[in-house]
Symmetry: C2
Subunit: 332 residues, 2 copies
DNA sequence: GTTTTTTTTGCAACCGGTTGCAAAAATTAT
DNA sequence: ATAATTTTTGCAACCGGTTGCAAAAAAAAC
């Protein structure tokens, strides 16, 4: 079907090694030989088979890109940035959609069967043991949006979720709210846990402010909306820190539907600063997560890991900042 | 490092063929042999290397998933459905982000180097020659969201874009608008061209209705918003058919910002029915594209192509329907 | 023009599997 | 028990490449 190394060798009247060498950089080939081979190769439309090559080189340039956040719009940006970043580094993303799976075994086996050079886990919900399973099998791994630990098992790139919770709390305090709440995503998500921790931590320094918390079922619009509708029936707070923009937007829509004015009657602050948060008909005040930097840093780290698989695990945390839009009342 | 076929063979005290056969279904192995091999394999944690296998079987189960729509939120659903659908069929998506590239050569070469079994092009903007290039190289191909042609070169799965344009036109006519317009995406996008064609076609039957058209730079919120702001400066129409929801939402936000009431002062109908169109704070009337069916049908078709690569190209078009929300005034 | 050194080339083994073919073993028929 | 048939197994070649090593060729030194 497609031309092989041998075909080219025969056509050029040289050995297969010679052909192989002209397509391997850093190999010793004379100019004359190179020209001869390249001529034959282009006549036959030959290009080397990466998979066959990988058998001896033990490098496929395939990177497993594992995620379970296919419902959060922020991940469209994430996939865009990752695919471009990996491509630019000469790597190929093999996409794995975890859906609701939280056991790494299946993905792990599958990715090993495809001999991926490394794995990027892009998820703010999966626990550390998930990515650790990959490291235990000696696969270079980066956990993007992973949970920060002072001595991480694997490379973590993302934000300090606890700190982001504190930041949200400070913001609400600074605006003079007297009754605030945290609305998380699913309780099992590490980001939901950590953001809550920071929020509580900071809030506990202001005992005069009443606080409460609850959780939406998922990081989705509908879950945020449903939870907010529930809360509005009883005794709602003045302002909510929602653990994610998409939840915020759901909550926001619920509040507006119930006839509440934002930010006069009720306030919201989200986290992520996804594209839609800036859409004028949403206009959500939120904490910006620098995902461009997070992802390019993740790719860089992966490239470095491929060079040195023994590289010591590090955590790379990027600072967040509040993006003021229209869902929180002005500072007094 | 990881156990190989040979390791298992030695441990089980049998030939490598025997081991290979126990991991190939349909191969002849006695129960006794199978048990012996499976024991050794599980002790060593062996699982076969797909890439080595592919060298002889000529099947990698890798499918190239090529797209250039990484900015349209609808594609998050598309990726979710595709990755799950392919996984369920035992296939693996190798993601290619085209960015602005419209020449198939690079992707083609790369995908051939990885010996993908087939390619799915998921794009409503790429012209037929793009997917044809793959077919010319004998790669099984499905163009999802591709342009319909009565005798297609490759399998097309999607909607009849021309008809969807007519549908939008009928909807606006039915609501008694007297001055309407089409707002496309980039003029180079086949979907923008076809939807316009249908819109014009239907509208030309109502000469009493004034019509015009223009184009947003891209299928993005900002492009839709910018174009709408421009239109509002001169002499806007009563209602707009926007070629895509994300453009509609941008246009909608521009209209609201300029103090126009929707649907009283100005109407919008989009196309896609992406998740956010249903968000209560957007509430866009739009034409629903049945993407779940489109994608599962695309995957089915790909599976069928892998069985029979000579399969005659067909077009699978799914009907759309109008989803009434709040951006078009009621029928008189 | 020889000898020494450096560069280029081909041979052959290997990467981790699969598979056609024939021999060996197990079944079935006689 | 023997012959005929069917099933199971191993040998060896192959898939499409790479690479260590030694021989051949070219370049440099004498």
């Amino acid at each position: 079907m497609t031309a092989t190394l041998k075909d080219v060798a025969i056509r050029a009247g040289v050995s297969t090694s010679a052909v192989s060498r002209t397509f391997t950089d850093g190999a010793s080939v004379s100019d004359k030989m190179r020209r001869k081979v390249e001529k034959a190769a282009s006549e036959l439309g030959y290009s080397p088979n990466f998979l066959a090559r990988s058998l001896t080189t033990r490098r496929t340039k395939l990177i497993g890109l594992v995620s379970n956040n296919f419902h959060n719009p922020i991940f469209l940006q994430v996939f865009d940035l990752f695919t471009r970043g990996l491509q630019d580094a000469g790597l190929r993303p093999l996409l794995v959609n975890l859906s609701d799976e939280t056991d790494p075994e299946n993905s792990l086996r599958m990715l090993q069967q495809y001999s991926v050079d490394g794995v990027i886990v892009a998820s703010s919900t999966l626990p550390p043991y998930f990515s650790k399973a990959f490291r235990d099998r000696k696969l270079p791994i980066v956990h993007t949006f992973g949970r920060y630990a002072s001595s991480p098992d694997v490379h973590i790139v993302g934000i300090d979720n606890v700190e982001s919770g504190r930041m949200a709390a400070r913001e609400l305090v600074g605006r003079g709210y007297k009754k605030v709440a945290y609305m998380g995503g699913p309780l099992s998500a590490t980001s939901t846990q950590d953001r809550f921790k920071g929020f509580e931590d900071e809030m506990s320094r202001h005992p005069e402010i009443e606080r409460s918390h609850s959780y939406a079922d998922a990081y989705t619009f509908d879950a945020g909306r449903t939870e907010m509708l529930r809360l509005l029936k009883s005794n709602p707070s003045e302002a909510y820190f929602c653990a994610d923009d998409v939840i915020s937007i759901g909550a926001l829509s619920a509040a507006k539907d119930m006839g509440l004015k934002v930010p006069e009657d009720i306030g919201f602050i989200g986290l992520n600063d996804m594209t839609m948060a800036g859409w004028e008909n949403i206009n959500l005040t939120t904490i910006h997560q620098p995902i461009t930097q997070i992802i390019s840093s993740s790719v860089e780290l992966m490239v470095a890991m491929l060079e040195d698989p023994e590289r010591y695990p590090e955590a790379r945390l990027f600072p967040c900042r509040v993006v003021e839009r229209g869902t929180l009342r002005p500072r007094p």
